[in-house]
């Protein structure tokens, strides 16, 4: 709870900083020109842009948090995203190939199989997750490049309805609410325009993963396993099977994320599509309270964590901070967040020991 409140506080603080920064820029430059102040950051269009990205990266972070809770890590997420999108683009072949109803279940099965492969190696052959998934990081991207012959793939103009999943909003379903060009839109239309499909899909998966992790016995066992595998095994938990399951779900969700990314971007270059996305996912999960040592973490925190990172990325652009400095801002903010968390944790612990 403390974690979640802290993250919400951090996001609000960031928004305020951005707001005043913009105000300051206006005060310095445009005030005398008679321009009224309006915040670009806290504007509807900006949130409309921001939400789909939070949804897309949030799905990857959810996948990552499952692996992290078991005490492992999945470094192959970015490459799985790439492989899944490349294969589906090739099979669908701009609408002239196989049916999407056949292709998408097929590639998601492939994503699941990748998870089975990881899980088997990790839990039954006792190879470290870092190593297994690192090899995946190299291999899957290379496979993708091989299948695509290093050419850029895409869906072209095909599958407009499927693409809605990656870039659409609720408003697309209700054309009658859409403003006539030039006219102003109603509040309801604006709100529906904010609810973007990837965000909803992310929330859907967040609920499922959340129910699984926090309410089902298997989820509780997963935490126990992450905290101390040995004692979990001795208390009768099927640790191996459970770990396998975690990696399967992880890769499966990453595969879904990959499809959504392909729908959104519609231009998949095998050599760099999804590069570094696993690290954004790790950063989001860690910011959200997952310990890389395993055994802790919660879904709401992870979503807030990834939202914070996406807000930062967006801020850099909106405030006109030089592109070169972007990762300084992101890296710095993550570090500040994690350090602050540690500080408050220690203080509350000290207080508790003093009271006791």
């Amino acid at each position: 709870m403390r974690k979640i409140l802290g993250l919400v506080g951090l996001i609000i603080a960031l928004c305020l900083v951005a707001y005043f920064w913009e105000w300051f820029q206006w005060y310095q430059h445009d005030r005398d020109l008679g321009v009224l102040f309006s915040s670009n950051f806290l504007s509807l269009t900006n949130f409309k842009n921001l939400f789909p990205w939070i949804g897309l990266f949030g799905i990857l972070a959810l996948a990552q948090c499952l692996a992290i809770i078991t005490g492992g890590i999945d470094l192959s997420i970015g490459s799985v995203v790439c492989l899944i999108s490349v294969i589906s683009c090739i099979l669908i072949n701009k609408g002239e190939g196989w049916s999407p109803f056949l292709v998408f279940p097929l590639v998601l099965c492939l994503a699941g199989l990748i998870g089975v492969w990881h899980g088997l190696l990790i839990s039954y052959f006792n190879i470290q997750p870092f190593v297994v998934t690192l090899c995946g990081l190299f291999a899957y991207r290379s496979f993708a490049r091989f299948f695509a012959g290093d050419t850029t793939q895409g869906f072209g103009n095909a599958l407009p309805n499927w693409k809605w999943l990656g870039k659409g909003t609720l408003l697309d379903w209700f054309p009658s609410f859409q403003p006539v060009s030039g006219g102003s839109s109603s509040t309801l239309a604006m709100i529906m325009d904010l609810i973007s499909a990837p965000l909803v899909i992310m929330l859907f998966f967040a609920i499922i993963v959340g129910l699984f992790l926090h309410l089902s016995p298997a989820g509780r066992h997963l935490f126990a396993l992450g905290a101390n595998e040995e004692s979990a095994r001795f208390s009768g938990i099927q640790t191996r099977r459970l770990k396998l399951l975690a990696y399967v779900i992880c890769s499966f969700i990453a595969g879904i994320g990959g499809l959504l990314f392909a729908f959104k971007v519609n231009s998949v270059q095998p050599s760099d599509f999804g590069n570094f996305y696993e690290l954004y996912a790790v950063a989001g999960a860690v910011l959200g309270g997952c310990s890389l040592r395993g055994g802790t973490g919660n879904v709401i925190g992870v979503i807030l964590g990834i939202a914070l990172i996406m807000v930062l990325r967006n801020l850099v652009n909106i405030l006109g901070i030089r592109s070169e400095l972007e990762y300084v801002v992101i890296g710095g903010a993550i570090l500040v967040g994690v350090c602050a968390d540690e500080f408050f944790l220690r203080r509350s612990q000290r207080k508790r020991t003093l009271e006791a």
Binding site: N40, S43, T45, N46, N49, W53, L56, R141, S142, R145, G149, D150, T151, T152, G154, G156, N157, K167, F261, K264, V265, N266, S267, V268, Q269, P270, S271, D272, F273, N275, F276, R313, N314, N317, I318, G320, S323, E324
Partner: protein
């Protein structure tokens, strides 16, 4: 018993590996001793075997697919063997590895598109001592390369500037989108563009980089449209920036309100020009890069340097593609790439 066998196996593998690595080391030393005089190695043409030349790109993209088609055509026309290498991560150190491996393979010449020319000069010079080295696409003027084949990116930037002037009124605000600004071609294009638009007071209000992440390239455009509602034109300096800008503008619902000028010939870019959402694109001729590189390398391998001009730069002119000539250009391109 089992453990004993495992140990034995490990020892054998280790010993074998050691022997092999020693053997290779010895061989390498031998060749480096024998190849000290540069000229001797070059003047030995492979009479029985085909001349082997290599082509190294800086990353993977459709652009290089076209160049590859050019090298294949040249390989047929001139009867040489071409090795085409694409560094997967597109980093300077991977290029170095590939270059070293190719030299070990015994190629007569290498055409490379250096990722980071200034810092790679030493590596290029090292290679130039052993084989005929030319640069293509991106130049390293301070190195010992035999010549450069490619676009004059400054001139390409000037052409893009002309396109901007043709589609926006004087004094308009423009935004530049590019992968990274540390590549020489990006800098040269930007300089040429700036010089051309200076005369009409067009202003560059921002430059956003995306580190070649396409998703981010789109987000950059969306964010720029929020921050600068009065922007008149986006310019994408690298090939994927064109489609990314188009997607970003489309997602923001501003298709047709903002002009787009970009470089290179991605399919989506050409479609965008056909649809009228992109004003124009400045294309290089990668096919010619590939073809001419192989031709020059073959001539160099035969000791003939006559086609290299005094300034050691062979420029292949760019082409501006707009709605008028997009159909003709596209069908020619499809023919080269062998797509229907």
């Amino acid at each position: 018993m089992f453990r004993y066998f495992v140990n034995l196996l490990c020892v054998t593998f280790l010993a074998g590996g050691l022997l092999i690595s020693l053997g290779c080391g010895g061989k390498q030393q031998e060749t480096s001793v024998s190849s000290t005089p540069e000229s001797t190695q070059q003047s030995v043409p492979a009479t029985s075997k085909k001349i082997k030349v290599a082509f190294i790109t800086n990353n993977a993209s459709d652009f290089w697919k076209i160049a590859e088609a050019g090298t294949k055509k040249a390989a047929q026309d001139f009867g040489v063997e071409v090795i085409f290498r694409i560094p997967s991560s597109g980093t300077a150190e991977q290029q170095q590895q590939i270059l070293q491996d190719l030299i070990t393979l015994g190629v007569a010449g290498v055409a490379i598109s250096p990722k980071d020319p200034e810092n790679q000069t030493e590596m290029l010079n090292e290679a130039a001592k052993k084989v005929n080295l030319i640069t293509q696409d991106s130049d390293a003027p301070n190195s010992l390369r035999k010549c450069y084949i490619g676009t004059n990116n400054f001139d390409a930037g000037v052409e893009a500037g002309k396109l901007i002037q043709a589609c926006t009124p004087p004094g308009s605000k423009i935004i530049i989108c590019v992968g990274t600004l540390d590549a020489q071609n990006a800098r040269d294009r930007l300089e040429g563009l700036k010089k051309q638009i200076a005369s009409t007071n067009h202003q560059i209000i921002d430059t956003r980089t995306d580190e070649t992440d396409r998703a981010k390239a789109i987000a950059n455009v969306q964010d720029a449209l929020v921050r600068y509602p009065d922007v008149a034109c986006f310019v994408g300096l690298w090939s994927y920036n064109g489609p990314a800008i188009l997607n970003g503008v489309r997602d923001s619902g501003k298709l047709g309100q903002v002009k787009i000028v970009c470089f290179d010939e991605e399919e989506e870019t050409l479609q965008g020009i056909k649809d009228g959402y992109i004003y124009g694109t400045v294309v290089q001729r990668p096919f010619e890069f590939g073809y001419q590189s192989v031709r020059v390398l073959k001539e160099l391998a035969e000791g003939n340097a006559s086609s290299i001009p005094e300034n050691k730069q062979i420029f292949i002119p760019t082409l501006s593609v707009t709605k008028e000539n997009v159909d003709a250009f596209w069908s020619e391109l499809k023919q080269i790439l062998g797509k229907s």
